[in-house]
Amino acid sequence: MRIEGINESTCIVYFGDTICDETAGLVKQATDNIRSALSDVITDLVPSYTSVMVCYDLERIDRFGIHTRLRQALEGGAEKAQDDAAAQTLELPVYYGPEVALDLKDVCEFSGLSTDEVIRIHSEQTYRVYAIGFSPGFAFLGSTDQRIAMPRKSTPRLKVPVGSVGIAGSQTAIYPSATPGGWQIVGRTPSKMVDWDSESLALAQIGDRIKFRSIDREEFISLGGQFDEL
């Protein structure tokens, strides 16, 4: 663990140099610990793959104070990180049909696998939420099976439909809103990834585990799935 100052109201805590499950666990645990122990002085926490950025209120605490309290909150957190009790496992229904899986054919060609094989490989694994960013609620999940890891498109789409499930290298993700994006789209979930009127706001939190469940067209529609295109 390494704490570094960034500016007069921000510092960052690093937990490792590589993307892996163990570091993701440390980040998740640290985020929970900091949130509960320093809620009186922090204004924002930005966890990512290997780090947590901490924004604090300079009117309430200075750079010495925040470093001291972060150390206090995080020491001993390392052992507890293993049990990982705070993380939840979410199952997300995904329709991998041709109307919504805009790039599934390309992924098949790239990997030399059949449609069914790509869907099976993508949906049989449990992924971890490594980071949330890019757009509100956009969760970066890892790691995909190397057989279906395909680089992002050379020219991004101007608009990727809401709920699209994409692959980029060894990562996979769901688009919570219609934004530009270059990921290879292999399906669509009818689940709402962000809901500003709900209490939890975003369905997935960093450190959570996510499993995709392949559903048919009928179930996609019954769950409220939409076919709105570009």
């Binding site: 960034i6 500016n7 921000t10 960052i12 990512s48 780090s51 962000v194 960093i206």
Partner: protein, 313 residues
């Protein structure tokens, strides 16, 4: 009680100090591009410091007052007129029903702040009225829309306000070439000594590519020994160095996380001074540290609280 928008201008948005506490789910902060000017505008009216205001970028805004109130105008001089009489920034004015308030073109600086007594009476979304168009949050109706012709801007009931102006010593000169402190951090040590020397001795120009997300600068290219990094939190004012070596300073509507190497960060007050510079302006950097940035901010906060001759309260 309201202002009617006769002409929305180039870009006029509702802003408060920003949407705090949601960056962990990817929601950016938004907020005023120039905190110094924003905070003084509320201070002049004795408003809560977070009260929503209008951030007027470039000018051409025209408003019609449907009620009496007081306003404070700070930041850029965008050629403001009250009923065709020119008015200067950094002070308060009384507004009568039927008055017209209009802005033409930038004379000095880029962004003006217009506060009204009691603040704009607009809804908060996720705890803030700050407009972030990309995320469809904030603004007059909460959906991130910028001002449009015909909009009615609801105002809070005004309080009695004494005439006040910002002390001369607290008014920045946006025409001066900007020399701004950089706090080393993030991937600073991955930039070789020669690259750092070039960065701190070069003069950069503000490019045409500036918006609320970031300020792209042009000048001497800087290269570190990293092409990319594992994505991490991006602080307001941090300086990304992409592969072309041209610095990008991240502003209020930045993405919450990103994967470009960063050589360090400006303070919030430093980034605010940059936000008042138009394309072509000169920017140079000097090495500072967190301690100095902290001290400067505490002095600013103190002066803001204490006021000074000419301010009320």
């Amino acid at each position: 009680m309201s202002f009617e928008v006769l002409d929305p201008g180039m870009l006029t948005q509702v802003q408060d100090m920003g949407r705090l506490g949601y960056q962990h789910i990817g929601v950016t902060t938004g907020g005023p591009m120039d905190e110094h000017a924003f905070l003084w505008a509320n201070r002049l009216l004795n408003n809560p410091l977070n009260a929503p205001q209008l951030e007027i970028t470039f000018g051409r805004l025209s408003l019609l007052a449907h009620s009496d109130t007081s306003i404070a105008l700070t930041g850029a001089d965008l050629g403001a007129r009250l009923n065709e009489r020119p008015i200067a920034p950094w002070q308060t004015y009384e507004i009568k029903q039927g008055d017209r308030l209009s802005f033409s073109m930038p004379v000095v600086g880029l962004r003006a702040y217009l506060a009204v007594s009691g603040g704009l009476d607009v809804p908060a979304r996720l705890g803030s009225a700050a407009t972030v168009s990309r995320e469809q949050l904030g603004g007059l109706d909460g959906t991130g829309a910028k001002l449009a012709k015909g909009d009615r801007i609801p105002l809070a009931p005004p309080s009695a306000v004494a005439k006040a102006s910002v002390p001369y010593s607290e008014i920045p000169d946006y025409r001066k070439p900007l020399r701004v402190g950089v706090i080393p951090g993030y991937q600073y040590r991955h930039f070789p000594r020669s690259a750092r020397a070039r960065f701190f001795t070069s003069e950069y120009q503000v490019s045409q590519n500036i918006d609320r997300m970031g300020y792209r600068l042009s000048g001497e290219a800087i290269h570190g020994d990293l092409d990319g990094i594992i994505s991490e939190g991006i602080a307001y004012g941090s300086i990304q160095i992409p592969t072309d070596g041209q610095p990008i300073v991240l502003m209020k509507d930045r993405q919450t996380i990103g994967g470009y190497p960063k050589i360090g960060s400006l303070s919030a007050l430093g980034a605010g001074q940059l936000a008042q510079r138009a394309p072509g302006a000169s920017v140079s950097f000097y090495l500072t540290d967190v301690a100095e940035a902290e001290a400067r901010r505490m002095i600013f906060n103190h002066r803001l609280r204490q006021g000074a001759p000419g301010t009320t309260g």
